[in-house]
């Protein structure tokens, strides 16, 4: 188990009567780039939200580097409503808030860009350093943490240089072109010193040129920062090019997993994406 950076076990997420993610189990190994794909509404982002603590799963568990970080079982009104499987396998209730999970080393980006709009590029990244502070509110207010503040600023500047955002560091983040805003979101996630990076549709809205650049960029940060990358993506060129392994979700359930070649030739995946036709049968 220890070689898995992330492991989701029998995760079911149910909203009222709707089962958004059904009995999802997957593993992400150290240093891999793994993609989660599926048609719209398949439950990909919900799966991300379970890992990052935005939602507590209705049933199931999540492990990070072998540590048990999330577990839940049907409780309260879900006791009656629960429509998934594996009822009774999980008995603990561990439900950390997203900031706790980020501190453990899982950072994420968002499907729709969520930068702090009134802040510059530099402060956007600098704020992400806040959680690694050692100062308390008094030492910070009375400027007794100069050393730490300086270190934070230097680290931020360095990170921006590596990611090619240093030239625009004093611009308001909303004034950046779309591609750079996406890149800034990744920079902000990297500022939290993660070991696992979750990217939610990093290429959404990008043209082919930008997508190609992004492919190289993701590989580069994986190598430079010794990351494991787990991402949701719709651009098949990008997914097939970059992924070591792919998981496919449809209607909340896992329908296929494997290498890009295996997925490309999997009839179930093809039918999920294109609909079934009589010819295939």
């Amino acid at each position: 188990m220890a070689e898995h950076v992330l492991e989701m076990k029998n995760v079911t997420m149910q909203f009222g009567g709707v089962v958004a993610v059904n009995n999802l189990s997957l593993e992400v190994n150290k240093g891999e780039i793994v993609s989660l794909i599926g048609p719209n509404g398949a439950g990909k982002t919900t799966a991300f939200n379970v890992v990052t603590g935005v939602y507590a799963p209705t049933n199931g568990a999540v492990y990070f580097n072998g540590n048990h970080i999330v577990e839940n079982y049907p409780r309260g009104k879900m006791k009656k409503l629960y429509a998934g499987t594996n009822r009774g396998d999980y008995t603990k209730h561990i439900e950390p808030t997203p900031d706790v999970i980020t501190k453990l080393g899982i950072a994420r980006t968002f499907q729709n860009i969520r930068l702090w709009k009134s802040q510059t590029v530099f402060t956007n990244v600098l704020i992400a350093k806040h959680m690694r502070r050692t100062s308390n509110i008094f030492t910070a207010t009375f400027r007794l943490n100069r050393k730490e503040e300086k270190k934070q600023r230097e680290e931020t500047a360095e990170l921006l240089k590596i990611l090619g955002l240093y030239d625009v560091k004093d611009e308001l983040c909303t004034s950046l072109p779309y591609g750079l805003q996406r890149r800034l979101e990744i920079a902000r996630a990297l500022a939290t010193n993660p070991s696992l990076l979750l990217l939610d549709e990093p290429a959404a809205g990008m043209n082919p040129q930008e997508t190609a650049e992004l492919t190289d960029f993701i590989r580069k940060i994986r190598d430079d920062f010794h990351l494991t990358v787990f991402m949701i993506e719709h651009h098949m060129d990008l997914v097939m090019d970059i992924s070591d392994r792919i998981y496919v979700l449809n209607f909340g359930a896992l329908i296929a997993k494997g290498t890009p070649e295996e997925i490309q030739n999997n009839p179930e995946v093809i039918s999920a994406y294109l609909g079934e036709s009589n010819d295939v049968r």
Partner: protein
């Protein structure tokens, strides 16, 4: 090299800002020596300084952390009462608590200890109230805090607690400061502390929560803790300003801390610019000066300048409302918006003016040549 230059420039601007502040304090000292102390000018300056502090504290919460709270009057009341109750001299207690046998508290605290205690009591209550209400969003939080302020006011007027709060009667005879400089100093120190906080790593985290809560939490900022911090600190300073208000008025009564007071403060924050500390300060003095001083002549029924007699007591409020509407119409983000009043900003503006002027001159010259 470039870094060093900007650094020196910033130092220079800082010096100018300090000089500006020093000049302000000297000006007030001189005014106090020259102008008779009964002048309305000092009323405006004192009240302005007090309202500036509470407006900035509200701005910390509403403008910088994005928590829409309307409990400010309640926290001011806590501060004002804490200060008054613990500083009324023993000899005067029999007189003040005449309906409650001299009250239940038989000791006094030094003035500055009581002043800090005023803030701490407000902060303690804020902490306790924050536990259940701070996870509420926008309007709901506003309603919950407004409700709290009203409840506090009602409790302080309750005669069963009269041995401590003197029921709905006045609290008076506690030590007060008459000097305008005192109010400016205390309020200035508190605002400086809030400014330091806003520009620290915690202040940046507050702004992140304001801009996008979901992203802030995903980037490792503990929402509950940071909201609680901002709420408690804001209330601490509201408590201090309440104590200052008690000193300024020399008597205090719970019934005056109505929700209308919170709206006045909110108005100052909005007019000054949500998210601008200097905006709140400037708006506070303008607001107090307008409502207490500059528009006073409109209440004077003997001063007939129009054919129909529209000048009568209360007319100033009508004009005042119109002025506020005009400000909100033309400065939709407040006087300062989200910007701060700074030396560097003014110099930049002046340079811009100079350049525009030079361009204009060049244009005229060209046109002259062409002719």
């Amino acid at each position: 090299m470039e870094n060093k230059l900007t650094f020196i420039k910033e130092k220079k601007y800082q010096l100018v800002a300090w000089a500006f502040l020093a000049a302000l304090f000297i000006a007030i000292a001189v005014l106090e020596a020259v102008v008779p102390p009964t002048s309305i000018l000092f009323t405006v300056l004192k009240k302005g300084a007090i309202y500036a502090l509470v407006a900035v504290s509200m701005n910390l919460l509403n403008g910088f952390t994005g928590l829409f709270s309307l409990g400010q009057a309640g926290f001011m009341l806590l501060g004002a009462y804490t200060y008054a109750i613990f500083t009324i001299p023993l000899s005067a207690r029999e007189q003040v608590y005449q309906y409650f046998n001299g009250g239940a508290i038989h000791f006094t605290l030094p003035v500055f200890v009581a002043l800090i205690l005023a803030g701490l009591v407000a902060a303690l209550f804020a902490y306790l109230i924050g536990l259940p209400v701070l996870h509420l969003k926008s309007d709901y939080l506003a309603i919950a805090t407004l409700g709290f302020a009203e409840i506090i006011r009602a409790i302080f007027q309750w005669d069963k607690l009269g041995v401590i709060t003197n029921g709905s009667n006045l609290l008076r005879k506690y030590p007060v400061f008459r000097s305008t400089l005192f109010y400016f100093t205390v309020s200035g120190i508190c605002i400086a502390l809030i400014l330091l906080l806003i520009n620290s790593t915690y202040g940046r985290a507050f702004k992140a929560i304001r801009d996008d809560e979901v992203a802030a939490e995903a980037m490792g900022i503990n929402l509950a803790r940071h909201k609680q911090l901002s709420f408690t600190i804001s209330s601490f300073f509201a408590g201090i300003s309440g104590a200052l208000l008690a000193m300024f008025q020399t008597t205090i009564q719970a019934s005056q801390f109505k929700s209308a007071m919170t709206y006045e403060i909110l108005l100052i924050v909005v007019i000054g610019g949500i998210g601008s500390v200097t905006g709140s300060c400037i708006a506070s003095f303008l607001f107090i000066a307008c409502s207490e001083w500059w528009l006073r002549f409109l209440d004077n029924a003997n001063l007939n300048i129009t054919p129909i007699q529209i000048l009568r007591p209360g007319f100033r409020k009508v004009v005042f409302s119109v002025v506020i509407m005009l400000i909100v119409l033309f400065y939709q983000k407040g006087i300062m918006g989200e910007h701060e009043f700074s030396v560097a900003g003014i110099i930049k503006k002046l340079k811009g003016c100079k350049k525009a002027f030079r361009d204009l001159k060049l244009k005229f010259k060209k046109e002259g040549l062409e002719e």
